[in-house]
Amino acid sequence: MSSEKNCVSKLEMQKDCRVYCLLDLPDWTLDCILECLSPLDLFRVAQVCTSLRHKTRSDALWEKIIKQKWGRLLGDVAYQEWQWHTTKIANTQSILLLQQNQSGSCGSFSGVWPFLNFHSYLEHFIDLITLFKNCSKMALYVCLESGRFWFPVQVYKTANLFCYDAIVSYNSRTDTFKARSPTGEWRMIEENIQWGRLRLSTIETSPREFYMSNCMNDLKPGDQIEIQMKRRKESPYNWWYAVIGHLETCDQDVNHCRCQYSDKLVVEFKQYQSASRNKRSVLNRNRYEERVSLLRWFGGIRKLDKEEEIEKWTKLFASR
């Protein structure tokens, strides 16, 4: 500090030292600070005063937080369903009607309104109705973190290399999920599922519908695919990892191989032992749902062209 500086009298310094109220700053300056805070800190800042309560509940703020942690798993479908639930709840005049059920969930997993019309479920929400109306993005975060919102995802089964559709609920204490299956009245099927075993549904087709793909005529030996498969006609499809193989008549020499042009399609499952009769299935290339054995119904095929999808299956295969 220079000597000239010290000439400034103490009094002047004092006068200059204004009392800053941070609320006098422009919004975007304050937002810079709020954006750096964790959700827990934001909840605490909300208790400071009405103005900060309002600012810490902005949709823009929570949208960023949700995207950061949940963006990978929360698809458009789940988000639309969330909006559907909360709009319906906010528009329900009678709180009594919502409170009829003691759990505050209003209904059960049996599929009666308001909760399982689609593929998601919202439970224990009575206390959060005001939040739904006034700060819906923060409410979504709260419902995801506290496990109140069961939302649709796909779960990897490591042992057999397939994915099944489910709705999951998060447990922040263990940082894992539990899953309910759409079969058998949404019964609980798995707990302690790690983040790495979940993915966003890759297609919009329901697990009960045959997936129509436009890749069927291009499939050739070596292509990595996912194929719909189910055990019973009435069950939903799971997505199985497989590779397109060569016909038995083919010598597998690239110069002679005509497998790509055959009406038959060989699908190989490397997750099965080579002795298993499930190791290899020969399907019709131009077909609809196809039953190849007592407990094997095949549906549509999705060719994997994203490197990270193939890598994920390769990793799961190696980790078995």
Partner: protein
């Protein structure tokens, strides 16, 4: 950094171009132009007018002490260790000044530092830090505490 007081101005250093800034407490400070260029409010002025840099540019909202801190921060390329020596008042003054001078990098840096400071602090600490009066009615306060209980009922105590 060089400072001059009124008539006692030293000969201008021709090698490093400087701009004279006049702080709220009447101190004239010569600041390297590379640092001044981070202050959008000054930059836009000197660029447009191709102004005579010997005429001090007034900064009625920034004290010489705060400007000192800002210049040191920029010179030290926003060094965390240096900033940790700041008092709470200094942090707030730099934030307000960064906002006034429109210094984007500094603003981000100082906002992050303040956020870190507020991390896991009590509501009362935050109120004191920002000079904010609790304007909740007892009912509202009970309501917001209850909301937080709902939020955290499944979470561990922090």
């Amino acid at each position: 950094m060089q400072k001059t007081e009124g008539e006692e101005s030293k000969a201008e250093n021709e090698e490093v171009k400087q701009v004279t800034l006049m702080t709220s407490d009447g101190v004239k400070m010569k600041v390297e132009i590379s640092i001044v260029y981070e202050m959008e409010i000054v930059r836009s002025f000197i660029e447009v007018n191709d102004a005579d840099h010997s005429v001090p540019f007034p900064l009625p909202n920034v004290s010489s002490h705060t400007l000192d801190l800002i210049i040191e921060l920029v010179k030290n390329e926003y060094d965390d260790e240096f900033m940790k020596t700041f008092s709470h008042d200094e942090l707030k003054e730099v934030l307000v000044a960064a906002n006034y001078l429109n210094m984007k990098t500094l603003l981000d840096f100082i906002a992050t530092a303040i956020a870190n400071l507020l991390e896991k602090k009590s509501v009362e600490f935050i109120r004191n830090f920002f000079n904010i009066v609790n304007d909740f009615t007892p009912e509202e306060e009970a309501e917001i505490r209850k909301t937080n209980e709902w939020v955290f009922q499944d979470l561990d105590e922090d």
